[in-house]
Amino acid sequence: MSAAAPAADERLAPTSYVRRLLGRPELGAVVGAAAVFVFFCFAADSFLKPSSLSTVLYSASTIGIMAVPVALLMIGGEFDLSAGVMVTTSALFSSMFSYQMTANVWVGVLVSLLVTLAIGFFNGFMLTRTKLPSFIITLGTFLMLTGLNLGFTKLISGSVSTKTIADMEGFSSARALFASQWNVGSVTLKVTILWWLVLVAVATWILLRTRAGNWIFAVGGGADAARATGVPVVKTRIGLYMGVALCAWISGQHILFSFDVVQSGEGVGNEFLYIIAAVIGGCLMTGGYGSAIGSAVGAFIFGMTSNGIVYAQWNPDWFKFFLGAMLLLATLLNAWVRKRAEARA
């Protein structure tokens, strides 16, 4: 490790810029995104309009905000099946707490943050304590939250959706933070896009520039080896689950403040969209490899595909088929590019 002879260690040998680029996990996804983009440019006339692209970006951002922590969690070698309903839980909690207590909306928002983080902590804590697979633990949380969402909402508001809180104090300022939008000409940009970009930047910084980032990769690569070298495995895992919870809170508040009333049955199935975005973005299902930027590209592919089908005005009966086929193709292209890149590097 002496600085005197750096060239003797091949790990420290300088690598060319191109080789480094080819080794990036998100490269395949970027190529896939470009392919999907070009495809819809030809398939749908209105796809290239700025207003259309802003719709695609909004759609991508709502998936992308959750795909970031889910990608980090997957790099750390775990899954979270409760991520989709946790978003709904968070929104329901804010809304119902504010309503029932007749409190300022911000109070509900903060209480909801604590509750959501506690759910994330519960996931991580159970996982590290019981050593059960994350699939089981978070499936349990998923089912429990689904039931609690319905049960509590029904019990408290007497119906399956929350009451409106739009006329309560603090609503407009909270809406400004979580669900505002700007009109730039004919284009409407939503604040979720900003949240998304910031989260991607922060997550990328954590992964590549901090000690915690090394821990995440180490834990995902092999927990036992990581523990042996002094990585705080338990803390890292709990932290990752709390990261998912934090972003679920952000998404939940967005849904609450942009749609005002929350339906308790929502969110089921969305956890798969987040995982899909992370996987398309180059995260390995086995952990230890991936990136936050990749998850953003994955979410963008998802946004382009789901809306591009509408822009292309295809027969709606085939909607799901097109969606599945596009996702499969994007992922295959992604894997192919990565394989070629690895062979060359």
């Binding site: 504010s98 029932q100 300022n104 339906q263």
Partner: protein, 336 residues
């Protein structure tokens, strides 16, 4: 360890702050307090002295469906009045729904209320109930099969007729190009509504399928549709929660299209009043639940049957800004 302690302390401080804030940070507008102020006391006491019969209601509702909540409310209030022990179960899988009907037969209930979203799957089990001497009333969906399966009466809206009402209203409003937004792919009732609307609508109408469990994606899809085709001048959503979302999508896409919807809720009433929505088609779910229980009671008590072998229609009733103000209070209490 030191870091963990700090963490605990930070969490404690935040908790204390939040609790403090919740005590002082009250909202002077809206909330439960406003609801309680507005709410009149309504105690449900039986109005009749007939024996306490048990009626089972088994529907095809999914978890957390606002619409079925209102049906249930109607059934419960009628049960309170009629001295009925009301048992409710639901499952969106037809097989499980049939199982629940079987359970009700096993318990020898005094009446069965069932929705026929997937009629074939329930045909046999309804025949069993009829054979066991349990009167059956069908609600909501299955008007075509109800009588043939041996039910006393069907109470509900014919989806195709409801759709036709929408098509007629759109034509009357001079619309040329409409989009029918389906939030559940493969739901027969949804297809019938859009087909009915298409039939009577003078202009052209297209279907758009959206992911009903994911609101942001619903908004994005409607927005995308409007951007792809600026000539669209009306959007019809098939459920109340999707109407305000379609309004948002319309605004974001800079479209002038009119948004209309099936079913009512609080936001729909508000948007009708403000003119953000054109009209809503109500099938009066409360009436479906209430009448089903009441008719079973009448049959038990007096052998009365309503409808003369034909479905009793609870809709479509077209609601516009004029009626919205009156209905708002009933919507708020969950019976419209």
């Amino acid at each position: 360890m030191a870091r963990v302690r700090t963490g605990v302390r930070v969490v404690g401080a935040v908790l204390a702050a939040v609790l403090g804030a919740s005590l002082t940070g009250c909202s002077s507008t809206g909330g439960k307090r406003a609801e309680e102020r507005a709410k009149a006391a309504e105690a449900g006491r039986p109005a009749v002295s007939t024996p306490r019969w048990t009626f089972a209601m088994i529907t095809h509702a999914g978890d957390g469906d606002t619409f079925w909540d209102i049906v249930q409310k109607g059934a419960k209030e009628a049960s309170a009045k009629d001295n009925i022990n009301f048992v409710y179960s639901h499952d969106d899988q037809a097989q499980q729904q049939a199982q629940f009907v079987q359970n009700a037969i096993d318990q020898k209930v005094d009446g069965i209320i069932v929705s026929l979203a997937k009629p074939e799957a329930l045909k046999d089990v309804i025949a069993k109930a009829v054979k066991a001497g349990i009167p059956v009333v069908t609600v909501n969906s299955g008007s075509a099969q109800s009588a043939a399966y041996g039910a006393l009466t069907h109470i509900g809206q014919d989806e195709e007729i409801a759709g036709e009402a929408v098509g007629t209203e759109l034509t009357r409003r001079g619309k040329k190009k409409a989009v029918c937004v389906l939030h559940e792919q493969g739901n027969v009732g949804h297809e019938q509504r859009c087909a009915g609307a298409k039939k009577t609508f003078g202009g052209s109408m297209e279907n758009l399928y959206v992911e009903g469990t994911n609101m942001p994606s619903v908004q994005a899809a409607v927005q995308a549709k409007l951007q792809a085709d600026p000539s669209v001048d009306s959007i019809v959503t098939l459920g109340a929660p999707f109407a305000p979302t379609a309004v948002k999508a319309k605004d974001a896409a800079g479209s002038k299209a009119e948004v209309d919807t099936f079913d009512l809720n609080e936001s729909v009433a508000r948007d009708l009043k403000s003119g953000a929505l054109g009209f809503a088609v109500d099938q009066q779910p409360y009436l479906q639940g209430y009448q089903a229980v009441d008719l079973l009671w009448l049959y038990r008590y007096n052998a009365d049957v309503l409808g003369g072998g034909r479905p009793v229609l609870t809709g479509p009733q077209i609601v516009t800004a004029a009626e919205a103000a009156k209905l708002e209070e009933y919507i708020k209490r969950g019976s419209r």
